[in-house]
């Protein structure tokens, strides 16, 4: 079981209840795969740096969760099929290294921070 961070950008036109529904769906799939939700952050509506599917804003949801690696691919597939998801990104969460301030040697070996699933719809860029 690994800790991941998934950020999802929903269509800004979606109302609160629909978003909660979608978030519930995700958390259900995680707990069904015997994963665990660590934290759900709602960043709310934010302006996008560039338009995605002609939308200027998006509703951001950030979920930190412990999941079996097999689930990530499945999650990715579902987000792609989901019309109300503008964009999503899942990365491995950085282990918070215990801040031991050794003189001269900064605590570092928690650098196992690789990208796992990236799937923007490339054709919208540029």
């Amino acid at each position: 079981m690994k800790t991941y961070e998934t950020t999802i950008i929903f269509d800004p036109g979606l109302e609160e209840a629909r978003i909660n529904e979608e978030v519930d769906k995700v958390s259900q799939s995680i707990s069904q795969a015997s994963g665990e939700i660590v934290e759900v952050q709602r960043w709310g509506k934010r302006k996008l740096a560039y338009n995605i599917r002609k939308r200027r804003d998006g509703t951001y949801i950030h979920i930190k969760h412990k999941s079996p690696p097999e689930l990530i691919g499945e999650m990715d597939r579902r987000f792609r099929l989901n019309e109300s998801v503008l964009r999503h990104l899942t990365v491995l969460a950085v282990k918070e290294s215990p801040r031991v301030e050794e003189p001269g040697r900064p605590a570092e070996p928690a650098a196992a921070e690789a990208v796992h699933a990236v799937s923007p719809n490339m054709e919208e860029k540029v």
Binding site: T7, I9, R87, L89
Partner: protein, 80 residues
């Protein structure tokens, strides 16, 4: 900065992130990352910003992720 002044205004570059004792740069921290991209949205090279190797590679990674999430632009509006 150092080049044009011809030794007069010479000032050694230093890694601002090391100076601030930043342990890890987060892709969600777009406010901090905007300092390391140009107005066109490009990542500022190390030779300009003076960042150390460790922090530069963290910046690169973080900026790329932030771009995917539309927190940072791939390119600025007017050059599109």
């Amino acid at each position: 900065m150092a080049r044009e002044g011809e030794s007069r205004s010479f000032r050694r570059k230093f890694c601002k992130l090391c100076f601030d004792k930043v342990d890890r740069i987060d892709y969600k921290d777009d406010r901090r990352l905007t300092r390391f991209i140009t107005d066109r949205g490009k990542i500022v090279p190390r030779r300009i910003s003076g960042t150390c190797a460790r922090h530069q590679s963290q910046i690169t990674e973080a900026v790329k992720r932030a771009r995917i999430l539309a927190l940072l632009p791939f390119t600025s509006e007017q050059y599109r």
